[in-house]
């Protein structure tokens, strides 16, 4: 009872302080929903089956007619998404329109005709907010009544997302409100300033996905095709070291970062080279730490200049230093895609492509698969795979190349002698080289089955008895309750792979 009384007190105090930031009380209550998610991930080790289903709860905010914005990490691997209004018990079924783990953004659609959805109304999204804006954060208390707290934007920077290894523009909001779940809306001037994607109780800092990211995603998600985030396809590093600057003959004015890697198939690979020094990007000087002066937000990381101020398909002018000489280049931007990597992260935990034949389980290596070996995965997974992930993740030799692995062997008479193999790199199937699962499916399809597997640095092929194969596959399916011996993703239109 005590804590309840305390929270009411905080709510009242916060309401008074944040009055200016909030829209009318009714508008807040009519746009805020709880998002109740049941999710289930495909088992990374037995990919025909799923892990235990579980639940997550967070918030969403109505941003259009029948449209709710929430975070991607909340609805990840969703099997059911339901909404619930403030102060109400009824649940409203919703479906996922689009989710993008690169931005931690998701858009849901609900049936506006549903009885419980009556009265839900969109809140306008702010077009701009000042860098030190006073804001109000809203969440629901345990009685499901809106609880408001005031806050202030204290920092604007490109930071790693809390649930994905990608940087995105993040507003840090200092607030006393103890924000318990992701997706809580933040208001300024009566409009939606953003949503909180994380909150640190210790620092009292919430990470806010800002209004512009949100507005752009909502518009993009409703138009075919989804455009996504732009990127050029390179990895860069700061260039502070005076000795190195002198060696590269970089200017004394403190400009420039160094290109480290260009991914094949990207605009960077066409126009840039490792070792190039980027002096200016898209007309703006880049300092030696990779910052530029943003007209809206001040000093920001180069990443935002690409992903936030440009769109896929744009060509941007770049001023470079190569071999001590300055030069101009135009760099084509494309949609950022995890699929460009040699080892995709698979942050969204999508179902992996696999083939199980004669008990041999083949799949591609992903960051998610490695991390599924537990928090100590770097100590548990073979050091060769760890090393590949750490150094070559973004460096396929050709676009579409992946690491195909023999993930495991399900013991059966057909594969005796091979059952101790696991997490080994596969170089050939039936004697033909494979660079990804597409090659594996192609060869297995043409030859009718997987007859021989070549593992990297294992000079003897693992050979399977062709005559036993059909019986063995039937037996394996029955014994291990394998519902599908393979899974192949539908190739997206225009997929280069």
């Amino acid at each position: 009872m005590k804590s309840f009384a305390f929270s009411l007190f905080v709510a009242a105090a916060a309401l008074a302080a944040a009055g200016r930031a909030l829209p009318a009380r009714a508008a807040v209550e009519d746009s805020l929903v709880e998002v109740l998610v049941t999710f289930q991930e495909y088992d990374p080790f037995l990919p025909w089956q799923k892990r235990q289903p579980d639940q997550r709860e967070g918030y969403g905010v109505v941003v259009g007619d029948g449209l709710v914005f929430t975070t991607e990490s909340l609805v990840r691997n969703q099997t059911l998404v339901e909404l619930r209004r403030a102060g109400r018990g009824e649940k409203i079924a919703a479906r996922l329109v689009m989710a993008d783990c690169r931005l931690d953004c998701a858009l849901l659609r609900f049936d506006t005709a549903a009885p419980a959805a009556g009265g839900l109304a969109a809140v306008p999204v702010a077009e701009t907010i000042p860098p030190d804006a006073q804001v109000a954060i809203v969440q629901l208390d345990e009685t499901r009544r809106p609880q408001r707290g005031d806050g202030r934007v204290v920092q604007i920077a490109v930071k790693d997302l809390p649930h994905a290894p990608h940087g995105a523009l993040t507003f840090s909001v200092l607030t006393e409100l103890n924000v318990g779940r992701a997706g809580a809306p933040v208001f300024h001037g009566g409009k939606l300033a953003g949503v909180l994607i994380a909150y640190s109780r210790q620092d009292r800092i919430g990470a806010m996905l800002p209004h512009n990211t949100l507005a752009r995603f909502v518009a993009d998600a409703q138009t075919e095709p989804y455009e996504g985030v732009a990127w050029a396809g390179f990895v860069w590093k700061e260039l502070v070291d005076p000795a190195k600057r002198a060696y590269l003959r970089a200017p004394d004015d403190g400009r420039g970062v160094q290109i480290m890697t260009c991914l094949p198939g990207t605009g960077a690979a066409e126009a840039l080279r490792p070792g190039d020094v980027v002096l200016s990007w898209d007309g703006r000087d880049i300092d030696n730490l990779g910052f530029y002066d943003d007209p809206d937000y001040g000093r920001l990381n180069l990443a935002y200049l690409i992903m936030g101020r440009r769109r896929p398909g744009d060509k941007v002018p770049v001023r470079l230093l190569r071999d001590g000489r300055e030069r101009e280049a135009d760099v084509r931007l494309a949609r950022w895609s995890d699929d460009d990597a040699l080892i995709p992260e698979n942050t969204a935990r999508e179902r992996p492509e696999y083939l199980l034949e004669g008990g041999l389980l083949l799949r591609e290596l992903t960051g998610r698969y490695l991390q599924s070996h537990g928090p100590e995965w770097m100590n548990r997974v073979d050091s060769r795979l760890t090393s590949l992930y750490l150094t070559s993740r973004l460096a396929p030799e050709r676009p579409g190349d992946r690491i195909v692995i023999l993930a495991a062997v399900l013991p059966d008479p057909i594969n005796v002698g091979y059952q101790h193999f696991g997490n080994m790199v596969v170089t050939r199937v039936n004697g033909r080289p494979v660079s990804n699962m597409r090659d594996v499916f192609k060869i297995a399809g043409e030859d009718g089955m997987l007859k021989a597997l070549t593992l990297r640095t294992v000079a003897v092929d693992l050979v399977l008895d062709a005559e036993q194969m059909e019986a063995a596959n039937t037996r394996l399916e029955r014994q291990y309750r394998v519902s599908a011996r393979s899974y192949r993703r539908e190739p997206a239109p225009g997929d280069s792979r």
Binding site: R384, S387, L390, A459
Partner: protein, 498 residues
Amino acid sequence: MMKSTVNPAFALALALALAAADTATAGLAVPFQTARRSVVKIHVTKQEDDYSLPWQGGRMMNGTGTGFIIGRRRILTNAHIVSNARFIQIQKDGDPRRYDAAVRFAGHDCDLATLEVADPSFFEGTTSLELAGALPRLSDTVTVLGYPMGGDRLSLTRGVVSRIDYSVYSHSGVDHHLVLQVDAAINPGNSGGPVLFRGRVVGLAFQGLAWAENIGYAIPVPVIRRFLDDIADGAYHGYQELGAATLELRNAALRRALGLPDSRSGVAVHYLDPFGCGAGRLEEGDVLLAIDGHDIADDGTIRLDGNGVLFAELLERKQWGEAIDLKVWRKGSAQSVSVPLTGPADPFGYRRIYDERPPYAILAGLVFAPLSRNYLETIKSSTSETNARRLLYFLTYAKIDGLCEGRDEFVVLTRRLPHPVNTYSESFLYGVVGTVNGTRVRNLREFNGALASPAGGFHVIRFEGMEDELIIGAEAAAAAAPRIMEAYAVPAPAYLGE
């Protein structure tokens, strides 16, 4: 012989102390009062080299262990008791005097060593223990003598042989040999003590398992004998590796693919270690059919003295310079291949190093040293440093993935002694050096040599798997050196070995 790159057992340098003392069942052929006169206490002052500060002597430690006299005035003990020793003294039971001793031979791959005592009066009143002719059997009652913690005098304990198996020898970190497991509580201090059956030595207590109870390990008599035979010519050569990784042939489809007739059995060579004895004699894809006349089964075992043991056990018993006769199935026919066991020294075997001063070379406060297991153990396993994580890959896959080609060792940037000249080098820490000033370096000596020729006033160092280059101004590096050496108490800019 059989090597594992990962050490699964937390085997401690401990010794055996058996619980019961039922002399009625002991069956000592040599009376205890005689046997005890051969068992000595070893007092050691050690200094373990600190591979993160390789120019220093390292931390000092005092410890005790056990040894026993085996004739010809030799004292047998564990290598781990006397490795990195600075001062060794030996004491007989009930005798207050301590005698100076020195290591004569140390086999770090089998954790055995012999000591010498210069003072002839030491051996007055002592006896020698004899080695048994064969291994004891399971459930045989054995007696262990030694100087475990909890007292100063000789201790006698007893237990049974619980298991005879292969296990890791934790002293080197990589070697597997036969071990004798005894059901004894394990206590520090009496490593090196004899395990006696009917008054003869069947083993030498050497390690325990940290989390287990009543599991103590002894080095069995065949391994002891092999060590003593090895040093008989005045030098220790160690175990020879065949260097053939094999795949068992229990799969009929695989046997057919290799063209092996049904009447034959064996294992297929799927990888040959370039530093193994088999390199150049065997071929990848060979099927090993028989070893020294013993047919190899499809699971890699042979029948030996009525037991099924791994075929490698025959190699375990061989000495350097001997040969092993293999029958192999190659390209459709059986062939005889004699493999002389005279393999080259393997710099990429990564045994833990003892009794060697660690080499290093310093440039601008950046310490470079050869990759070693000792160095890797100084890095916290919790580190998230990408480069540090990759060192384990270099250590494990040096030969398999051909990383060692063109090198004698991997030169690693092991640490930074902070100074303004090296402020921006943090991201290169733990990196493996590829080229220095345009030169590919085989070893630390070549690395140090390449520093003599900076290009255009800069040292340019490239690391494996990194796009970025480390740039150090040559003049600035030279100017900073005296201050760095003084501040961090580094006596010399490099030690490149003998």
